[in-house]
């Protein structure tokens, strides 16, 4: 086992899968010579050639449409959206077309592709380099949505996503890229899509999160542990399909639920998790479900004060959990 960063784990997963299967290729802006703006594809063009690591023209709709068309022909494209904020020009191909292809052809045309996107804020990215875009894809049947937060999960899940026969939106939180490090096995492994992971066992309350805020939840849980509150932290890892069984099991055990995410609160993943618990674990709940999420402003702003005010930090999460525990 070696300690690696999230970006290293992502790069290794792509590299190993490209080596394993000649159908896998990468297409995106600056992914070739430069190796991507975050260096996720560094060295791959040299190793696999420009035909499998394609520097695309600066046009997201065609990056997505071309990847989709290549998937029709049995390739396993990995289109990279340079920043999730720039996915919007390609959303017709992704939500409009790719998500509907299998269903609209009665299963005749599978879409094995992984759409990688660095997303999220806390890096002074302002309105157009901080966006949380997951809810739009989470809401779309036909897409799978994966949002890991550790190097181990990122590598294992990305490898599974590449082998999956469906369009998988693979969300990589930018702030975790170099900040979060962890052990990654040297030997080959994959992790199943659709399985949440209990990142911290606890008995008093359940907090469900994913991405960057999962780490903030772990910090908050430590704070509360010192105060005698035993918090279970559940990392969704996959948003779609949602691991309802693991969520319900934890909620039934603790009787208290908080959902935490950076994305806007209204209509977000947390709302769905809350509805799930209210609908299927109502009798087990000892307190109203808490949502500690990004507020309903378009994105996290640029100024430090405003960015801080937006972000569900560990302090804000701890405060929310304290209230929930005391109810």
């Amino acid at each position: 086992m070696a300690v690696k960063s999230v970006i290293e784990a992502v790069r290794e997963a792509i590299r190993e899968e490209m080596e394993r299967d000649s159908k896998v290729f990468v297409i995106g802006e600056d992914v070739g010579i430069r190796g991507g703006v975050f260096l996720a594809t560094q060295g791959l063009a040299e190793e696999f050639g420009n035909n499998r690591v394609i520097d695309a023209p600066l046009a997201e709709a065609s990056i997505m449409g071309i990847a989709l068309g290549a998937a029709f022909r049995g390739m396993r494209p990995i289109p990279e959206v340079q920043f999730s904020d720039f996915v919007w020009p390609s959303v017709n191909q992704l939500i409009g077309e790719a998500a509907r292809t299998c269903y609209g052809t009665n299963g005749a045309v599978p879409v094995p592709m992984v759409i990688r996107m660095p997303y999220g804020g806390g890096i002074r990215g302002g309105l157009f380099h901080s966006q949380n875009v997951e809810t739009h894809f989470f809401h779309t049947p036909g897409l799978k949505v994966v949002a890991p937060c550790t190097p181990y999960d990122a590598k294992g899940l990305l490898k599974s996503a590449i082998r999956d026969n469906n369009p998988v939106v693979f969300l990589e939180h930018k702030k975790t890229y170099r900040l979060v490090r962890g052990e990654v096995p040297d030997e080959e492994y994959t992790l199943p899509i659709g399985k949440a992971d209990v990142k911290r066992q606890g008995s008093n309350l359940t907090v469900v999160s994913y991405g960057l805020t999962l780490h903030y939840c772990l910090e908050a849980a430590e704070e509360l542990a010192a105060e005698g509150v035993d918090v279970e932290v559940l990392d969704l890892r996959t948003l779609s399909p949602l691991d309802t069984a693991t969520i319900l099991e934890s909620v039934k055990k603790t009787g208290r639920l908080a959902v935490v995410h950076e994305d806007n609160i209204t209509g977000g993943v947390g709302a769905e998790v809350a509805a799930l618990a209210a609908g299927q674990a109502f009798e087990y709940l000892d307190a109203p479900i808490a949502r500690i999420c990004g507020p309903d402003v378009p994105t996290m702003p640029f100024a430090q004060t405003l960015e801080d005010a937006y972000m569900p930090t560990s302090d804000k999460i701890a405060e929310g959990l304290r209230r929930l525990a005391a109810y």
Binding site: N51, R52, S62, G65, G96, R100, G104, P110
Partner: protein
């Protein structure tokens, strides 16, 4: 091929030699008779579908009447080549029928029955995929198929295939940004894609003049550095020849834009009434060059068909349409339990 867009005219069209000498390259007389038959079958189904719409049995239809020569001429070239893949659009009824579906399958699709070969009754008629006939059309979102077709061609090249991809769209679709993106990428990578614009000078009610200032869509090819041609889309043989040359060019050198000038004989769809926006007499004048009539006339003149055969073909195709209508009408719709199937692939 010259780089400059040109307007082609059909070679040898008034040559008085015997029929063999006048056959376009790569074709036998029987090919043309076969294609005439497919054309008449497609027209017969197309007309019946509109009637069935008025009877409440077909929810929606877009007609290819007036576009058939372009669709079948290019299809004939693709079939003769033997290694082409097609990305048609919603107006390509004749193309999809002629590509090999049975009249019963066509009617099932229009009536939303379980036997719909494209999507099992999930989509608008003849939309989805007909892989046995090498056709994919995921949606009717205009121009969405263009970048997909380019990606398909890219994948074929990666897999070591020689496949040429033909992608079809209307004049209105050329205004979409993705049309530009698709052509630009195809040209950078010299991909074997033939962009076929069926230009009927209307996008629903919007005339070409409100869509673009250029006269010929084909002139845009110059800005991508590949050849573009405008051809008479009412002339099946001219469309065949242009596509045939384009296939050869595409495989060796990269994309081609073929603009086929056609006439839309019907309203945009069964939900539209074109009397609101089309000048009186326009459709009648257009129908003077109805490909069903002009193609028959050419084949009779060249001794490949007789009036008797024309009458027999008309009767035979009509019988098939009648039969198909009856069979599809009483066939089962998809079971409601099917609603949840194939959201994801295994």
């Amino acid at each position: 091929m010259p780089r400059k867009p040109t307007t082609r005219t059909r070679a040898n069209s008034s040559n008085g030699a015997n029929s063999q000498a006048k056959l376009p390259k790569g074709l036998k007389a029987s090919d043309l008779v076969d294609y005439y038959t497919r054309l008449v079958q497609a027209r017969s189904l197309d007309e019946r579908i509109w009637m069935l719409n008025r009877l409440g049995k077909v929810p929606i239809a877009a007609s290819s009447q007036g576009h058939e020569a372009a669709q079948l001429g290019s299809l004939l070239a693709a079939e003769k080549d033997g290694d082409c893949f097609l990305f048609p659009y919603y107006r390509d009824l004749a193309l999809k029928v002629a590509a090999g579906l049975s009249p019963v399958q066509v009617m099932m699709s229009f009536m939303g029955k379980a036997g719909d070969p494209y999507s099992h009754g999930r989509q608008f008629p003849l939309q989805g995929a007909d892989l046995p006939h090498k056709i994919i059309q995921i949606s009717n979102v205009v121009a969405a198929g263009l970048t997909q077709s380019v990606g398909y061609a890219l994948a074929c090249r990666m897999a070591g295939d020689e496949t040429v991809v033909l992608v079809y769209f209307g004049d209105g679709a050329t205004s979409q940004g993705e049309t530009h993106e698709a052509m630009n990428f195809a040209s950078i990578h010299k991909l074997p894609v033939i962009f076929i614009c069926e230009n009927n000078r209307y996008a629903i009610s919007t005339p070409q003049s409100a869509q673009m200032v250029v006269e010929e869509v084909a002139s845009r090819a110059a800005s991508y550095g590949f050849p573009g041609f405008t051809v008479d889309g009412m002339d099946l043989i001219q469309c065949y020849e242009a596509t045939r040359e384009a296939i050869t060019h595409a495989r060796a050198q990269g994309p081609v834009l073929l603009e086929m000038m056609v006439k839309r004989f019907m309203s945009h769809t069964t939900d539209d009434d074109d009397r609101r926006y089309r000048p009186e007499g326009e459709v009648e004048r257009a129908r003077e060059r109805d490909p069903v009539i002009t193609f028959a006339r050419t084949l009779i003149e060249e001794g490949m068909l007789t009036q008797k055969m024309v009458d027999e073909i008309a009767a035979e195709t009509l019988r098939s349409t009648d039969e198909a209508t009856d069979v599809a009408d009483v066939s089962s719709p998809p079971d409601a339990s099917n609603l949840h199937d194939s959201v994801y692939s295994p």
